[in-house]
């Protein structure tokens, strides 16, 4: 199978290596195209937002008003914080110039002269590689004034985060980029209209932007055909947990979860049986053996009650305690809830503390309905989607493994769980 982005993961990250592969040729050609032509091509490609929301990239661009007299900003979301996701790190580390080329194309298409790359604070090597690529790009006329021999100016600034999951949420990110705590904003207005510094803003994920050079080079139709009906192309799946070979796998949108696990990542380690899988980052509903033939595009996963999300696949084998896995999952949301909305701030913490009690062997059967009651208030009651994600994950564990929770409470703590090894 042909690799697009991941083909570069084995090559040096330098400009000379990237140029040897035809790097920046597409950006140069793009600058000779009409911006509207590029937007049309991207719409035709069915490129979806690969940070997690899966919103059509071209459609997102089309929401940006071009005639407000205000500057338009591009904000690159490199905050990669959804647990189980590490693919943007590979792009930033191994092929930062591909991202920069994508940034040039997007900026030209939308009429942007300033882009900010918000990279998560813990990423050190990815930051250093990106910084060095940025310096090379400026030195070689690929960024700055009159780039690539055109009359187009584009500046790119790298902005490092400081450790907060919520800053991956696009409006939390904007607040953080403005020097505030990352409290998500109430929408509307949407960032496309009122975004960074009150100006129209495009927010795109690293991977989404990195597919643009391929789309402009080989056409939107070609990219669309690689995927399923409304999900263009391939995407980078981050696979971790109990598989033999964890890593980043670039595969078509129409691949099934079963193929990813058993064909591409070598199956479950130790020949064990599969118990459950998180298909699209921690916030996605877990799936079980009988659901593994689902296609991994956004719409198919939505149809089975889960989501494509960030493409982070976490595999759990038969030895996993679902009670403890859920405790760890809810601990994450309780820790990362920004505290702005009550149902999320209180609800995630309550559920986490009840699960802690259950895991310590002090659970009561009525705890399950109590948690469900709290969990039902998590969705649709808050400003951003953090609580919706926590709810989707939480409810799926209780729905699919309620028996195990009941047994755990009745019979006490089983010895054979990973957390008690």
């Amino acid at each position: 199978m042909e690799k697009l982005i991941s083909r570069f993961f084995d090559l040096p990250s330098s400009l000379s290596a990237y140029k040897k592969e035809g790097g920046y040729d597409v950006a140069k050609r793009a600058l000779e195209m009409k911006p509207a032509e590029i937007e049309e091509e991207v719409k035709r490609s069915n490129l979806r937002g690969l940070g997690g929301a899966g919103f059509g990239c071209g459609i997102k661009w089309s929401f940006v008003p071009r005639n407000t007299g205000k500057p338009i900003y591009l904000v690159v979301n490199a905050d990669e914080g959804e647990p189980g996701t590490f693919k943007d790190k590979y792009i930033l580390t191994h092929v930062p110039h591909l991202l920069l080329e994508g940034i040039i194309i997007a900026s030209w298409a939308v009429g942007i002269h300033k882009a900010y790359i918000y990279i998560r604070g813990e990423y050190e090597l990815p930051y250093l590689r990106l910084k060095s690529a940025l310096d090379e790009a400026y030195q070689n006329g690929l960024l700055g004034k009159r780039i690539l021999g055109s009359s187009f100016d584009l500046d790119v600034v790298i902005h490092r985060g400081a450790g907060a999951y919520i800053c991956g949420e696009e409006t939390g990110l904007l607040e953080s980029l403005e020097g505030k705590k990352g409290f998500p904003r109430l929408k509307p207005p949407f960032p496309a209209v009122v975004g960074l510094f009150g100006c129209p803003t495009v927010i795109n994920n690293v991977e989404t932007l990195s597919y643009l050079p391929f789309i402009v080079n080989r056409g939107g139709e070609w990219f669309a055909k690689l995927g399923t009906e409304k999900n263009g192309g391939m995407r980078l799946f981050s696979v971790s947990g109990h598989v033999k070979n964890p890593g980043v796998y670039e595969l078509p949108m129409g691949i099934t979860l079963r193929e990813i696990i058993y064909h591409h990542t070598g199956g479950i380690r130790g020949g064990k049986k599969l118990k459950a899988v998180v298909p699209g980052g921690l916030s996605a509903a877990i799936l079980t053996e009988s659901e593994l033939d689902v296609k991994m595009d956004f719409d198919s996963l939505k149809a089975v009650g889960s989501m494509g999300g960030s493409g982070g696949v976490i595999v759990m084998d038969e030895t996993t305690s679902m009670v403890d896995a859920l405790r760890i999952t809810m601990q994450f949301y309780a820790h990362e809830s920004c505290g702005q909305c009550t149902p999320c701030r209180e609800g995630t913490g309550w559920i986490y503390r009840i699960l802690g009690r259950i895991v310590r062997g002090k659970g009561r059967l009525e705890d399950l309905n109590q948690m469900l009651d709290i969990g039902n208030y998590l969705g649709g009651t808050t400003i951003c989607a953090l609580a919706d994600g926590a709810q989707m994950a939480f409810l799926s564990y209780l729905k699919k493994f309620r028996g195990e929770f009941e047994q755990f409470i009745r019979d006490g703590v089983p010895k054979e769980t990973y957390a008690h090894a």
């Binding site: 813990e122 510094f197 760890i328």
Partner: protein, 163 residues
């Protein structure tokens, strides 16, 4: 105010960072990172000076200090071990490594050894699940962790430690 934290040299770099943004406050996180990088932490005095630099009430800087996990008001130990506890790492046994280190170092997660050699923390997903169970040791991502690997790190930083 006597600017002891934001020296003229730091101020020059900070001014340069600010020029990247149409609104000065947007440079708050990068400037705070710069100061922490220099001093190992952002002290209460530093917070006041940063607030003055940005023309903000001190509470705004305190708010950033407490909201973001990467800002410290006290320096961490010379070797800062942060073990990921989120699902992918937990599935591969991260908890055992925290217990191992707590025993070896005689401190709990969240603490620093009295000689300031080691700090130990639990963190949420660092985006390196392919090398789970993993830890960030100072700036480096290390994994998959083994007891031998951790012992090596301990010995590099502290001669008195034994298997």
């Amino acid at each position: 105010m006597n600017d002891s934290v934001i020296t003229p040299e730091i101020r020059k770099i900070a001014d340069q960072i600010c020029s990247n943004y149409p609104v000065k406050r947007a440079a708050a996180l990068p400037v705070m990172r710069l100061i922490q990088e220099r001093y190992g932490a952002i002290s209460a005095e530093a917070e006041l000076e940063i607030a003055e630099y940005f023309n903000l009430p001190p509470v705004d800087i305190r708010e950033l200090m407490t909201f973001y996990t990467l800002f410290y008001s006290k320096p961490k130990g010379k070797c800062h071990i942060q073990i990921c506890r989120t699902l992918s790492c937990a599935l591969r046994g991260s908890e055992a490594f925290i217990h191992y280190l707590e025993t070896k170092l005689g401190i709990q997660a969240g603490q620093t050894t009295p000689d300031n050699q080691f700090s130990l923390d639990y963190v949420e997903c660092l985006g390196a699940c392919e090398i789970a169970p993993m830890a960030q040791i100072n700036k480096e991502f290390v994994g998959p962790l083994t007891k031998e690997k951790l012992m090596q790190v301990l010995k590099q930083n502290y001669v008195g430690i034994t298997d």
